[in-house]
Symmetry: C2
Subunit: 285 residues, 2 copies
């Protein structure tokens, strides 16, 4: 059996009891460590589980999935995923490969940012499609996220933006020379995301995410030191919400007054929030 086990969002105790019991008894334990991270390191997980963990990077999952699946037809392998195993990334290839090899797959679900974002007080029913934001470079500034945001906005819905992380990336120079030297991990901040949105708005000019658009930035959702801030994109582009992981919600206009009450409490500046709210949001849809 291949067990896909969600680890939740913050620390080693966010695993479910069901998940933990399985981790303790399977043959091998892999940790998917390139699409998201917990706020604790692998050594802490190993100590907590009392077991060694094999860290699976993108290369291993995509090119050596048969190594992960080896023997899983007759014994059990656990593949740990931060959040829910079917959250932002579905690991479709691994599961389809397991099916081809007649290996049964079972999933132990857990919290995902896609529902935990409800902790902002924004109603999950009012969210449209989830959108990814990648790190812009000097030469690569993909703006397809802008089209998705626009679609959500046109029907008044909020948009959750999941922010890029770069783990175990090589510099172009090292890549070219085949040197397996990796850059330090990078995690996009709310400020960086807001800035990239404003940069793209300047380019596209369709009014989807202007400096006065309201948004909610969140950091370390579910952790004791979770942080949230509601404000304009301009305000958020200058905010520091601390350590990763960050996400951002662009507000839609089909907003309930209870949602407003909730996020007003975390406004960067309540008077700015109130002004922008009444001018641009209240009763607009």
């Amino acid at each position: 059996m291949l067990y896909l086990i969600g680890l939740g969002l913050t620390d080693e105790t966010d695993v479910t009891v069901k998940g933990l019991e399985l981790i303790k008894k399977v043959e091998r334990v892999y940790l998917e460590a390139y699409t998201s991270i917990l706020l604790v390191d692998t050594a802490k997980l190993e100590a907590y589980y009392g077991r060694p963990i094999i860290v699976a990077d993108r290369e291993m999952v995509e090119s050596a999935s048969d190594d992960i699946l080896a023997g899983a037809d007759s014994s059990d392998v656990a593949f740990l995923v931060v959040g829910d195993p079917f959250g932002a990334t579905t690991h479709t290839d691994l599961i389809l490969r397991a099916r081809e090899l007649q290996i049964p797959v079972q999933c132990v679900h857990n919290a995902s940012i896609l529902s935990a974002i409800g902790a902002t007080g924004l109603q999950l029913y009012n969210f449209g499609q989830t959108v990814s934001m990648v790190f812009f470079t000097d030469t690569w500034k993909p703006s397809s996220f802008y089209d998705r945001l626009k679609e959500n906005q046109q029907i008044g819905l909020h948009s959750l933006l999941l922010l890029d992380i770069k783990v175990k990336e090589q510099s172009l120079a090292n890549l070219a020379r085949g040197r397996k030297i990796y850059e330090p991990p990078r995690f996009m901040t709310v400020a960086q995301c807001a800035s990239q949105m404003l940069e793209t708005e300047e380019e596209r000019g369709e009014g989807v995410c202007v400096p006065q658009s309201l948004a909610v930035g969140v950091a370390r959702v579910g952790a004791r030191d979770q942080k949230m801030a509601a404000g304009t994109l301009k305000q958020l582009s200058g905010m520091d919400l601390g350590a990763p992981l960050h996400s951002l919600v662009l507000l839609g206009k089909r907003t309930h007054y209870l949602e407003r009450d909730f996020i007003r409490e975390i406004a960067v500046e309540q008077d700015v929030f109130d002004t922008v709210w009444s001018e641009r949001y209240e009763g607009k849809q």
Copy 2:
């Protein structure tokens, strides 16, 4: 402190380690038992936690929230919610009331159907807004869900429909006479949902959910006996997926071929699926 603790989707072992430790040590434990249910009963939870549970019905949460919050400024109270505490229902009133009373609130997140639905193989990025489906009566057949589905369809997105549950409901006669006699609980099935969609389509006629529209019905997601079936709404309207809880996904047209590969495996009839797919979905957006 008021702890909002998610219980996940299936049984007593879906609680997180963090959640379980809190449940064992707080002063009082409430279980929200009217918007969703676990697949095990309260007695089993009490035995597992080694603690009594106070079952909180809608009346208690909405009219007697101060009883729940009593003493939570100086001691700890746990409010257990099936799924994630901020899943489909946000218990906004309870949290705002706690804030008014200066009671700190902390949330222990868990799996929600909103992300676990990814187990169908459909990409969560391709879902639009989530939609509720209530039980129709002879005189009340609200069709606002149809407008939401239409909005999602127009941008090619999948729609997750969460299906009504009726727990501790009184019949009109008993309600009129003030008799606290409750009807047996009812849970909408995939078949009932598909039928209501088709009924509304006949009324509205805008082509949003026709008999040939593809959908995926799911039952008991995350449980060992989880069941999924992909087919036309007509097919699903005659399917029996067994015990609750059920949900349904109406397919959008912006669909990746890997999503097709996944759900084709669970097709009610693969040849029907293939025909409808190539006629109505393939390359349509």
